[in-house]
Structure formats: structure tokens, C-alpha cells
Chain length 644, copies 2
């Protein structure tokens, strides 16, 4: 395991001071076309303005003005953490500006920053929710107050700004806030943590941007303080805040799924910068157990609506999946850090799965409505969300333009704006491509060797990815590509040769010359997957995937009215027709009974179930990408399909 | 359909002014031995005092003293509805006094009543939560304030007192409160409803006790006001309060499961006393759809933890079952009223199922700890609840002595104390026995013909029930007995003849003479049941029942450590050994994988699943009554068992 010291502080979300792989910045890798470029464009032209509009409309931006004008607490709007949504929008804007300069967007960014900065108090404290007459005292409610959580997003926005240029006022504000946090919660200060992890990742990154070790030390303090019960117990238990077990001792992610992932990401940042292999190993083990037992097929995490939390192992009901969009983003943050720290492709596999099937599912095609939760089974056609009123968050109905708790839309926006930074890394050996899209890579190896590669692909529609080297290099280097675990077979071609490669990492090493091409062929033919028998909720069902995409049956595409009427015959091979995957099934012959638990005294493994009537004519079960569902109005949908 | 006008106002919870069947009072039917007598005894000697102790300890009784002493709101303890738990204890005590006079208990009852009565204001308003300086205004929060809900329980306690005798102070208090409600929320008053139905059933019954029609009219007003959106919308939607659709228009129970059932019971009381067949039919249809699609095998209702609510049709996950004890009691209240109104045995079937598998499950054997939720699948051994601190309600762990929201323990207590009143009815034709236990029936038919019958049985261990007539009657009459739907075969014997009877109602009509015996033989041999395929969460599983009892596999009885390791071979007949039911299964060969969704390209109906390894030796799967589980310490448990 080699260690690469970061050289660049360019536009990228995560820059460990030491890691196996070095992330590239937005100035080094650009997505130029295809699936993700389209989403980045929608994010740029529609989503950012949509979010800004709603922040104004709901008064969450106005809270800052009201603070300056002395109208708080009477005029305050929104939940206790609404400041953070403003900061996440700023972070999204900053990455977008790093991706593509835009004077008008830069001016909007600065205008918001000025409104925020005006609220900061002389000692660095900054909140529209606490600290004024008539409000709660500062840090009087660490369980639910979210002050440190809000700083975390403020600091992440400032880190994005620092790394992408422009006016640095936000960076100054964030430093003052961070200094205030260190003064208040330092080794000799209050021994508290925030009920929602987030400050940890943010302080670690601010340390990297500023070179100030004390921010990292404070992040480490917060990480280590978890699990000692400094927060009050609550109905959901202290596991909700990850205050039930020390990070080093836990075996699996538990409690609130966003909090769990944000804390894990922060712990990994601390581990990376402190060279703390034990901490890295502890989080990696938790990740392994969480992926093996507590993660949906989509990559979604968190199966409880009640507390937005992980369930026990194998409690993964598709129809009550919470799978919050933000938990998916948190999972990507965690997996990306593990990938940088270890170079292991399994982490990039989960990033890909979660990007395609959680993050890409949340926004509607037009980028102005979102899923907060991402159910895997819609039993009743959803209701169209109101266009001008914030929706309840836990709706598993149709996407909504905004939520009373609206963490997800700006989280999607910041992720899309910085997405290219999660695609490619370098190390002394060469270049590693983890995610596939049309892209331009313009970077240099740690020894200064310039590397320029263009990527061409129709991924995920096609599994062919071509890497074209644009300039000669004076030394040999390796192009490493991820072979996803889902690709049953894969081939790599270079220099006139073609060879099979296994899931994991495949490599071409040579002294590349301008015009050299490497071609990767992944198998994106549709495939049937099953589930561990301990996931009771999908026993007797199959799902279909194609490349990185989980497919679903949406009622609008079927010859039956409701997907509840479908069973599939998984023994008939899947077909692809005009790019659409089709399974063979039949109409389910469910029997309506007054009592749904009939006696079946002679039941055997085969005799069980209601669907033993005449098989009926075979029918087509049309399967489309899950991330596309519910863009055409109300429908029923399921990913897991009962087998005949 | 004949209509019987009530004659007696003896000790019974529900006395419709007109009904097909007339309920008997606690002075007319006594449970003398067996399963339910043991629980009534525990309730009498342990549970009532336990509840009183906790009401004092938590200060919920002390709230009344604090009100009198001017120490509210500062000294107030507990949630906004804590007064109601005091009233439910009073109701339980009143029924218990009706069942079995007890001077010491009567004195304790009176002492509590005096503390309550002292708080009532001159206009009848009574609450420790609202209306004082520093508290919310009266009725300022109909959504969550629970003032009318609390009155409902106050009135139900008074009704119990009125029907069982003793000092009538509580009755006077309740009448004044009811008068206040009528004055405030009458036809010309505030057009509001309570966020938690309960006042409706209570006012209807108070009308029956007092002969005051206006209480019934007010109950009818509250019933009809539901569904018009007078309550604010909330995150869970107005269906939570049943304020989404008028009672006459709804097709199924929805929203909070306790609220839904209490409202249904109130609507049925209004329908009975107003002769409103449309309203009766509407609720009966809702009951049918709820039982067919939204009820657990145990009779438990409500599958959402988040909002304690019904899920969509067929969303019945056993491992996230909420199945609140109080919802089961509410379901019994509703089913009992439907039985009285129609005489149809299916309602008594659900009462029986719910009594044995929800209500009997909640209390521990010693009657001093309780389940609030009643999960059907415990995946991780529960944690022992603290003995001296109220637990969070939604715990599906081990039973707890008390809860922060502690509606269930006193609800169980009032149900057990009045249980005999749900067992037997009369009409002009004769006697109907709906539930089986050792019992003494001493009543008269509407024409005055005295009927005395003793019931002897070891039910549910045995399916044999003997009815012994104790006195001659001058006319013929019919003894009707319920043949439960679960009894695959049944026989009735009388006068030397034996004949087969079908599920439903069976009858013996004759001019009975003292010493005549009727013998009912039900089939309590264990049976395998399956589930509608649309209940995805238990696909591929079977459950086992025996008589009215749902059985479960608890880890403590198995040769494997965790019930997750069990699969059953449902093709092997069940055995009974020393009264214990044993299925044949084997140890599951689950495969731990890094990713739990393996590809299975050639999967057929049989190829699916992880448990395809060597079958291993057959092993016994020991099945015991679900209501007994978790009385021996932490364990895992499941009712639905995967088939091999």
C-alpha cells in the first residue's frame, strides 16, 4: 500500500493529506456528455435557481435578514436546521462555479454570502435559531439544535469556495465559526457533540484547506466523543445519534442513516490525516457489515420511517424503504473516502450503485422536484405534490418541489456539481478511472508527468468505454479501470490485444503515446438477481439489473393496471427490445378472501400461496430504469417481482 | 333480523338501545376458571395496584393535587393525555368492583375520584393540562391536546361506576363534563372534533346510562364532523385523525389504528341508537376490508411505527409490526358492537383471535409489565426494560413496567375486568355463547324466562365445551354456540344425538330441563396457515395455529441459537407431544456474502434463494403460544416460518 501526498488543492470535495489514491479536481476531470452531463446541466440551469427560489419563498434566507434587522425570533421561519440548506446551496454554487465560471451565478453566490456574514457575531457564533432574547441559549439543545451541524455545512461551502476561487468572504466567515467551535468545544471546553454529525468532515477539510492542524484535532475530538452518552437518551435510543458506542468499537452502522454516514466520513478523514489505521479499519468493518446486511439493492440505506434509521440486519422492506436521498449521498461520501484510503474497487462499486439508483432517482427529469425517501415498491399511485407548498418529508408518493425538512434537494445539487471529482484518481503508478462517462482528464502524475486522456462511452446504455491518450509521456504508467462486480464478463483491449478481465481492477501499463486507445467492454446485458433469504420482505422475488441500473416494473408500461397483478417466470430468459428489457410473466391470480390467512394443512414447499390457479397467457413485464420512474404521473411500481 | 330492546343496565361496557343481541352484565355471566380467569385474577391482585403505583410515581395522579394546590403548570408531569390513564384505571377498578365487591378497592377508587373531582371547574371543564395561566387555552390544540379524549375516558369510567354501583361522585363529575362538552361543541358551538376519537363512544354510553338523548346527539355530531378537515393537516396527513373522509364514505380503516377503531366503535353506537343502517353498513364494510387486507394473523392492527397507523393494503411486515395493544382493544370494541348489531359470528371470531393473540400477549405472566407494540418477529434478543423508569413506547423489545405513553396497561386492565361481558348474549330466541371458558350464566330471556347454564371446558387446550342447564324453563329456547372459522370440523351433541356443525353458528333448540347437557367439540389440532401472496413480507412462509392461539417459534425452545436459522418442512405433518406442537425443519444454510443480492441468471421458481445447500438432519421446531413468548428472558421469535 503506497501513500500519496496530495499536491493540489483544486476544486474537489475531499483531499486527504495522505491516501493511496489522490482525487482529481474539477479542473482536472470534466464530464463532457451522457447520463451524468445531462444531470449536471439540469442542475446548473434549473435546480440551483429552484432551490434559491424556495429558500427565499420559505423565508429560510430571510431569517438571516431578520436577524440583522432584529426581527428574531418572531419572524423566524423553518426548522432549527434551516440555515444549513442555505449553506448547502452555497456549496453547490461554489462547485458549479469551479466546474464552469459564471459571473451571474458568482454574483448570486456573493449576495447570499453577504446576507449570511452579516449575522455572524463578533466571537464567530452564527445561527438564526439560538442565542437571542426569546430564543434558546447557544448550545442549549445539542440533541436537536443542529448548531454544529449548520456550521459543518457552512464550512463545507467555504471549503468549496476556497478550492474554486472567487471572493473569499465565506472562507473568512467559516474560519471564524470554526475558531469559535474550537474555543467552545476544545479539549478544555464543553465535552459535547452535535446530535447530527457533520461538523467532523467539515473541520477536517477546513484543516486541509487552511493548513490549521487544530481544526483536524477538533474534528478528532468530536469523532472520539461519540458513544459516551453525552447526549440525552431519547425515544429512539442514543444509537440515533451514534452516541451509543464509540466509533472504534461499533460493528455496523446504526441509528439515523444520514448521521451514521456523515460521522463515518468524518472519522475516515481523521483517520487519513492522523494515519490512524485502527480507526480506518473500524469504519471499514462497519461499512462491510452495513453493505452485507443493511443496504437495499439500490444502495439505499435506512429502512425505518419512524427514526430515518437503519433497521436490524436484513430488515429491508421494499414497500417501507426509507432510503433517504441524503443517506445515499452520505454513503457515497463514506465509500469515496474508503476508496481513496484503500484503492479497493468495491467502494467504487457502491458509489456507482448509489449514484445511479438513489441520487439519480431523487430529482425529476426537470430538476425541480425531488424524492426525499426512495421506496422500492409503490403500492398505491402517488398523489401529485402541491406546487407551491412544502411537502411532508416522508412521503413515498410523487416527487415534491420542496419539503418542510428540505435537506435532500441541495444535497443532490452539491453532489451533481462536484460529481466529476468522484470519477478519477491518480497515484505514482498512473491513472485510475472509477466511474464511466464521456470525460476529459487533464492531470499530472505525482512526479509531474502530464497525463491527458479522453473517455468516450454510451455508458450505461452501452458497456463499451474507450480511453484515448492525447499526449506522449516520457515514462510508462498504468491506466487502471474498475471492472464492476456486476459485469459477468469483461474484456480489455490495447495495442491490438484483447484479454478477459475479472471484476475488480484491470490495468494497462505502457509508455503511452498520443493516439493510443484502451477499450473496456463491460457486460451490460440484463441479469436476474435474488436476495439473501434472511431478507424476509423479498423472499420468493427476483429483481433485474442492467449494468449499474436497477430496473423496475412501473404500471404505466404494463398490460395490467397495477404491478401487484404481475408475477414473473424467471426461468424464461430476459429479452431486450429497442433498448427496453422485457421479462416474461403472467397475471397473478390472487384470491380475495375475507381473511387473508387460509389454512393449508397439506402445504409443501410448492403448495403454498394463492397463485395456484390457471397460469393464463404469458405476458410481457416491461422493465425500465428505476431512476426514471414516476416521471410520467401517478403509477404503481416494484423492483422486486414475485416469481411464478 | 329481530331487534331486542335492552332491559338491564347492569355491569357491562356496551348497551345499545337496540340490537340483535343483548349483552349480559357482569352480574349475569362470570368466568370461573381456566385461561381467562387466571388473567382476571392476576389483573385483580397485581395489575390494578401496579398501575396505581406508577400513576403516583410518575406524578400523573399528583397532577390533580397540583391543580388544586395551584402548582400547575410548573409541577405538571407526563404527556398531555396523562389524565386519561387515571380514568382508565378508574374504569378498570369499577368493572372489577362489579365483578367482585371489595371494600378496600372501593375505598381506593373513591380516593382517586375525590382527587379528580376537586379539579373540575364550575362549568364542568376538567383538565390538568390546559386552561390555567401559563398553560395553553382550553381547546387551543384540538389536534394534539386530547382534552375531549380525556373526557371520553372519564365518562367511560363513570359509566362503569354507574352500572356497577357504589358512590356516584364520579358519575356526577362525568355528567358535568359531558354537559360542558355539549355546551361548547354542540350544534351552535365550535365545529370541532378531537384529534383522538374516544368522546364519541363515551357520550353514547352515557346517554344510555342517563337516558339523556343530547349526549347521543353530541356523539353523533362528533362522528359526522370527521372527514371535513376541521383539524390542521399534519405530516402524517389528516387520515391520522380520520379527518380525511367522512365516516359514511370511507372504505377501510386508515390512519392511527387506535383512533380509527375508537371512532368506528362510536359510530356504531350512534348507528345502533339512531337506527341508522347506512352508518352501520359503512362501518361494517370498513371492518371487512380492514380484516381482509390490513390485519395481522394475530388480529393485531397497524403496521407503521412512525404514526402508529395502518399501512396500505397488505403492508403487514411481521418484524416491524406495530400492532399496538390498544389498537387490538379498539378492534374488540368495534367487533363486539358489530356482533351485537348483526349477530354474525365472524365478529366474535376476530374478538377471540385478538383476545388470545394481542390482549393476552401484552402483559407478562405476573401482570406487571406489558408490551405496547406486539411484534410478530423478534430478530435480536430484546433488552430487559428498566424496572423503575418508564420506557419508550415503541420498543419491540421485552415487556416494560410502564411507558412514557402508557395507554396500554390500563387498557388491558379495564378489558380483563369487564371481559365476561363479551362472552354471552341473549335474544328472544335464547342464549348465544360467543367465547369459551368455564363460566356461570345466570340470566333471563327478554320475556323473563330465567336461564341458568354452567359452562365447563379446558379451552383452549381442549376443544370440548360442555353446557349444563341448571333449571327447567317453561318454554323452548335455543342455545346458540359459535363454531369458530378455524375449526376444520366440529360436532354438537345433545339429547343423545351428535351431529356435525359448520363454522358459524350452531344451535340446539328445545325445552331444556335441569341437567340437560349440550356438548360442543371443536377441532383444536394444530394447523398450518399461509398468507395471501400480496402480503409480500411473509411470502414463502407458513404459520401454525392451534385453536384460537397463534403459535410461534421462540429461540429458547429450539436446538438452534436464533430462530433465523430455522426453516420448516411443511410437508411433514405437525406433531403434538405432551401438549407442545412440533414441526419438522432443518437448520438454514444461509450464506454470508459481502453483497446480499447474488446474480442468479438461470433462476427458476425453485432455484431462488440461498438455502440450497445440503439439507442437514431434520430437526424439531418447537411451537408454543405466541402470547406466552418473552416470559423467560431475552429471545428471538418468529410466527411466520420460511419453508424449506
Amino acid at each position: 500500500m503506497t501513500t500519496t501526498t496530495s499536491r493540489s488543492t483544486g476544486g474537489r470535495p475531499v483531499v486527504p493529506s495522505s491516501s493511496v489514491l489522490r482525487p482529481l479536481g474539477l479542473d482536472e476531470v470534466r464530464i463532457t456528455g451522457g447520463f451524468w452531463a445531462a444531470r449536471q446541466e439540469t442542475n446548473r440551469v434549473a435546480t440551483l435557481a429552484h432551490i434559491e427560489h424556495w429558500l427565499e419563498k420559505e423565508g429560510w434566507l430571510g431569517n438571516f435578514d431578520a436577524a440583522v434587522e432584529g426581527r428574531l425570533p418572531a419572524a423566524r421561519r423553518g426548522r432549527e436546521f434551516s440555515d444549513s440548506e442555505v449553506y448547502k446551496l452555497l456549496e453547490a454554487m461554489a462547485w458549479e462555479l469551479g466546474r464552469r465560471p459564471d459571473d451571474e451565478l458568482d454574483a448570486r453566490f456573493d449576495a447570499i454570502v453577504r446576507r449570511v456574514a452579516a449575522v455572524q457575531e463578533p466571537d464567530g457564533y452564527l445561527s438564526t435559531m439560538f442565542g437571542r432574547p426569546g430564543q434558546g441559549d447557544r448550545y442549549s439543545d445539542l440533541e436537536w439544535g443542529h448548531e454544529l451541524y449548520c456550521y459543518g455545512h457552512l464550512i463545507q461551502a467555504a471549503v468549496a469556495r476556497a478550492r474554486t476561487g472567487g471572493d473569499q468572504l465565506l472562507v473568512d466567515v467559516a474560519r471564524r465559526a470554526a475558531d469559535h467551535v474550537c474555543a467552545t468545544f476544545g479539549p478544555d471546553g464543553r465535552q459535547g457533540i452535535c446530535g447530527h454529525a457533520e461538523i467532523e468532515v467539515a473541520l477536517a477539510e477546513l484543516s486541509r484547506v487552511t493548513g490549521e492542524r487544530r481544526y483536524l484535532d477538533q474534528a478528532a475530538l468530536f469523532v472520539e466523543r461519540h458513544g459516551h452518552g453525552t447526549l440525552r437518551d431519547i425515544e429512539f435510543g442514543r444509537s440515533y445519534f451514534q452516541d451509543d458506542q464509540p466509533v472504534r468499537e461499533a460493528r455496523v452502522f446504526r441509528g439515523h442513516a444520514v448521521r451514521a454516514n456523515y460521522l463515518a466520513a468524518g472519522a475516515l478523514d481523521v483517520a487519513a490525516d492522523a494515519g490512524d489505521h485502527d480507526l480506518l479499519h473500524a469504519v471499514a468493518t462497519q461499512w462491510e457489515n452495513t453493505v452485507a446486511r443493511r443496504t437495499y439493492l439500490t444502495g439505499g440505506q435506512g429502512s425505518h420511517h419512524q427514526d430515518e434509521a437503519f433497521g436490524e440486519d436484513f430488515v429491508l422492506p421494499p414497500d417501507r424503504a426509507y432510503a433517504e436521498t441524503c443517506a445515499g449521498i452520505g454513503s457515497i461520501m463514506t465509500s469515496w473516502r474508503l476508496l481513496l484510503a484503500t484503492g479497493e474497487s468495491r467502494y467504487a462499486d457502491l458509489v456507482e450503485r448509489t449514484l445511479f439508483n438513489v441520487v439519480a432517482t431523487s430529482p425529476a427529469h426537470d430538476g425541480t422536484s425531488f424524492y426525499y425517501t426512495n421506496t422500492l415498491h409503490q403500492r398505491v399511485p402517488g398523489a401529485v405534490a402541491p406546487a407551491d407548498v412544502a411537502s411532508a418529508r416522508a412521503s413515498s408518493s410523487l416527487r415534491a418541489p420542496w419539503f418542510e425538512v428540505s435537506c435532500c434537494p441541495p444535497n443532490v445539487a452539491r453532489t451533481f456539481a462536484s460529481l466529476a471529482a468522484y470519477f478519477v484518481t491518480v497515484d505514482e503508478d498512473g491513472l485510475q478511472v472509477h466511474q464511466y462517462a464521456d470525460a476529459e482528464i487533464r492531470t499530472a502524475l505525482p512526479d509531474g508527468t502530464p497525463v491527458e486522456v479522453d473517455v468516450h462511452t454510451d455508458f450505461p446504455d452501452s458497456g463499451v468505454v474507450t480511453f484515448r491518450v492525447l499526449r506522449d509521456t516520457g515514462r510508462d504508467w498504468s491506466l487502471r479501470v474498475r471492472v464492476p462486480a456486476w459485469s459477468a464478463s469483461a474484456r480489455l483491449s490495447s495495442g491490438g490485444e484483447t484479454w478477459s478481465v475479472e471484476p475488480g481492477t484491470a490495468e494497462v501499463r505502457r509508455t503511452f503515446r498520443a493516439g493510443d486507445e484502451v477499450r473496456l467492454e463491460l457486460d451490460v446485458s440484463p441479469r436476474v438477481v435474488t436476495a439473501d433469504d434472511r431478507i424476509d420482505a423479498v423472499r420468493g422475488c427476483v429483481a433485474v439489473e442492467r449494468g449499474p441500473e436497477v430496473l423496475c416494473a412501473e404500471s404505466l408500461d404494463q398490460t395490467v393496471d397495477d404491478v401487484a397483478e404481475l408475477v414473473v417466470d424467471a426461468s424464461v430468459p430476459l429479452r431486450e427490445e429497442d433498448g427496453v428489457v422485457v421479462a416474461t410473466g403472467r397475471r397473478a391470480a390472487s384470491t380475495d378472501r375475507a381473511w387473508p390467512y387460509p389454512e393449508n394443512a397439506s402445504v409443501g414447499p410448492e403448495g403454498q400461496g394463492d397463485r395456484t390457479g390457471p397460469a393464463g397467457e404469458p405476458l410481457d413485464v416491461v422493465l425500465t430504469p428505476y431512476h426514471d420512474w414516476a416521471n410520467r404521473g401517478p403509477s404503481t411500481m416494484r423492483i422486486w417481482l414475485p416469481t411464478a
